[in-house]
């Protein structure tokens, strides 16, 4: 994956020379991103999902684990009832459930809505963890070079040599099942991607004139790495990170589907699909709606990531 992200030479400028223009640079970048059709679509989808996630308790008519048979609902509801929306002609004598009712008398719409909160949180935290650790490893390896570089990068090569989901399953086997454990496993598996990306950027930037100048002026290695090089190496990480969030959401959902991530009855989309997989023929709505939500989220991040890449890649910019 990291190899697909081009080096962004044009945007890497000496911050000491253009400090006054930094805000306009970011504004230009944002404008460039929003000019991309795919990014626009991604922003709309993710904005919608983000709003739903933030206001889940307002949007969802019931709790995510609210059994409709018990107070304060106490509804006479049919198990596995199909979607019923009165406005669309559903019999008004039946209780209204936009996405139907599942096998445990939970309102599927409410669970899908609350699932957005979990999935987005999972995506950001997982990729954030991978970026932080990966950046540190890549930056230190790239800047220090020599045996430090060799040690870190060979370790990353080992991790990369395994299929990511298989490796994540192995990690979860060791540290136990659960949503946090699944995030940690997916995060660990993703570290090498960001480490390699950061190392490549650091290797390129550390030979630049402004870095040489800083070194000549007596700035410490730590200062050069964190104040001069890192700010100029972040752009590819942003692109990769945006694309990575969608993948992380999908992989955590896969672990939950297998029973290794979120434990039932947590309203996590992968877990919901897994829990109801045997109803695919007689109550398909239990699979379809969380499936659509999952696809939409991944699509949103992929579109946004593609848009950001297109906007920032100088070779695709003209």
């Amino acid at each position: 994956m990291s190899g697909q992200v081009p080096a962004l030479d044009v945007k890497t400028v000496d911050p000491t020379l253009v400090a006054g223009h930094r805000s306009s640079l970011w504004r230009d970048t944002l404008r460039g991103i929003l000019r991309q059709r795919s990014a626009q679509a991604g922003v709309v989808i993710l904005g919608f999902l983000l709003l739903i996630a933030v206001f889940a308790n307002v949007v969802a008519p019931f709790g995510s684990e609210q059994d409709l048979r018990y107070p304060p609902i106490s509804e006479q509801v049919n198990r596995l009832a199909p979607p019923c929306i009165h406005l669309l002609g559903c019999d008004t004598s039946l209780p209204q459930h936009a996405f139907g009712v599942d096998g445990n008398f939970f309102d599927v719409f409410s669970r899908v809505v609350y699932g957005a909160r979990i999935s987005l949180f999972v995506g950001f935290v997982t990729v954030g963890f991978a970026i932080v650790i990966g950046t540190l490893i890549g930056a230190v390896a790239g800047y220090a070079g020599g045996w430090v570089d060799n040690l870190f990068m060979r370790l990353m090569d080992v991790v990369l040599s395994f299929p990511s989901l298989i490796l994540a399953i192995a990690i979860v086997t060791v540290i136990g099942s659960g949503l946090i454990q699944a995030q940690l496993a997916i995060g660990i598996v993703a570290i090498p991607i960001y480490a390699r990306l950061m190392r490549a950027s650091v290797l390129s930037i550390k030979e630049r004139d402004f870095v040489v100048a800083s070194r000549a002026l007596g700035e410490s290695d730590r200062g050069i790495l964190f104040r001069r090089i890192l700010p100029n190496a972040l752009t590819p990480l942003i692109v990769q990170g945006t694309l990575g969030i969608g993948g992380a959401v999908l992989e955590v959902a896969a672990l939950s589907f297998l029973g290794l991530g979120a434990q039932p009855p947590t309203a996590e989309w992968g877990s919901m699909i897994g829990l109801n997989r045997n109803f695919i023929f007689n109550a398909p709505h239990l699979i379809i709606f969380p499936g659509i939500a999952l696809s939409l989220t991944v699509l949103g991040f992929n579109l946004l990531g593609d848009g950001i890449r297109d906007a920032l890649d100088p070779r695709l910019n003209r």
């Binding site: 540290i175 099942s177 829990l275 045997n278």
Partner: protein, 580 residues
Amino acid sequence: MIVALGLVVAACGGGGPSASASGTGAVPTDVASEEPFESSGTFEPMAWPEEPMDCSFEGDDTHAAYNGEFAQIRAVDESTVEFELCYADVSFLQKIAFSSFNIHDTASLENDMENHRILARPNGTGPFMITEWSRGDHITMVRNPNYWGEAPAFESLEFRWSVDSAQRFVELQAGTVDGIDNPGPDDFAAIEGDSNLTLYEREGLNTFYVGFNNNPKIEGFDNSTNPFANEDVRRAVAMGIDRQQIVDNFYPEGSEVASHFVPCAIEFACTGDEWYEFDPEAARQLLADAGFPDGFSTTIHLRDVVRGYLPNPTQVATELQTQLRENLNIEAAIDVQESGTFIDNSDGGLLDGIHLLGWGADYPDNTNFLDYHFGGGASDQFGDKFDDIVEALRVGATSPEDADREAAYVEANNAIREHVPMVPIAHGGSATVFQADVENAHASPLSNEQFAVMVPGDRDQLVWMQNAEPIGLYCADESDGESLRACEQMNESLYAYEVGGTAAEPALATECTTNDEGTLWTCSLREGVTFHNGAPFDANDVVLSYAVQWDVEHPLHIGRDGSFTYFSALFGGFLNSPAE
């Protein structure tokens, strides 16, 4: 480090005790193609132990008191075996018919036990011989050309598995398998409407229960914090679960709420008082009186494997979680474990909180249900045993008079109701489904379908799809139904259950007779029987097959994890058990 550890664990097949000794991938299992057996030509009758066990042995510094049923097992001659018992056992024939007591070839036991090869390459006398076990995918068996009985009408039998009833159903509809176990409860109507398929309903000779451990054997576990050490708490949970709701919503037709632990179709099963009625008010009061007015937190452990007694495991767990919260203010987290790990943890008494498990009849007798779970030789599944239950079950299992047995089971059932080691929830109806052209297809009430009698149309192969992969094929040390069914196609016991029924009938023995006291059984063995590798079957094979299970100090008492739970549970205990 985590990554490295993960890789090591993954390479070891999950690290749990269920990990296969033979690793992953296709396992070379073709015993028939091995070097031909060469007979030594002499027969020296074996006896185990050399002198009959002192049945009143009360233990010493190194050994625990002996409570077992056997005093000695001895070969009289090549085709006669005697079982000398410490006490009469009215269910003896039904017990020895069970697949945990399959007879294995002496040489195979000696050569394949220590290296665990026997777990994947049983050398039995049954109508099929194993040729391949592709881990995670399928087991292939071929017809035994030297089978002593009627040979199967088709060439090969393949076992496949899927935890998903939907997938099993789709494979059946697509014609890629000939028969499946446990169709989803919501698919019954669709199956009955499909003329290409035939549904065979299976009698609910099973029990699903919610178990508690009153003293888990978890290292460092402080039992003073265990709410389920308190009998009133267990009773409160028993009264706070609406079992009718569970059966109505998650079980197919033909299922019923359990009034007793053992299904009522079994003799003396439903004696004594019926189980507690659902009464959440009284349950909450009982819980408050026990010192938990605000409830407490616990864990529901389960495996996500469909069984006749539990067709929707995770959904039932979720329902139970809801009921505990709503009715008793008990917050329960759900912990889904891998099947083999879960069984091992359960047998080892390593599950705190609540666990969901069940039992399908291996033979239709109270001893199969009650002794296995609550008898003197039972595992640590429910923690410390209850002496009054153990004693009542001992009397029930050893009394030759029906009236005495009935009285004992009244006492046992009432004691179980009083101590509440578990809550019996349901006796689940289930079924098998076969392609309509499969002749002699059936659903066994004991879940031990015999494929050798079936005829899959004009096909040379019959493909069977069950709920899960067998854990091991040395079934002396397995208790999982999926393993037992596979074992039964390749191995045989002295007796066997009739096809599609429950009566015990001669198999490797032509008959077993007892003395007037019921303490000495003499079995005449079928002659001309050979194992899959050509070795002749004789009385020493019987003695050794039992001895390795019975005697803890036998060098071959190894198995998969060495628990041999069926032997201990059904025959009262092991020989030479170490002192506590």
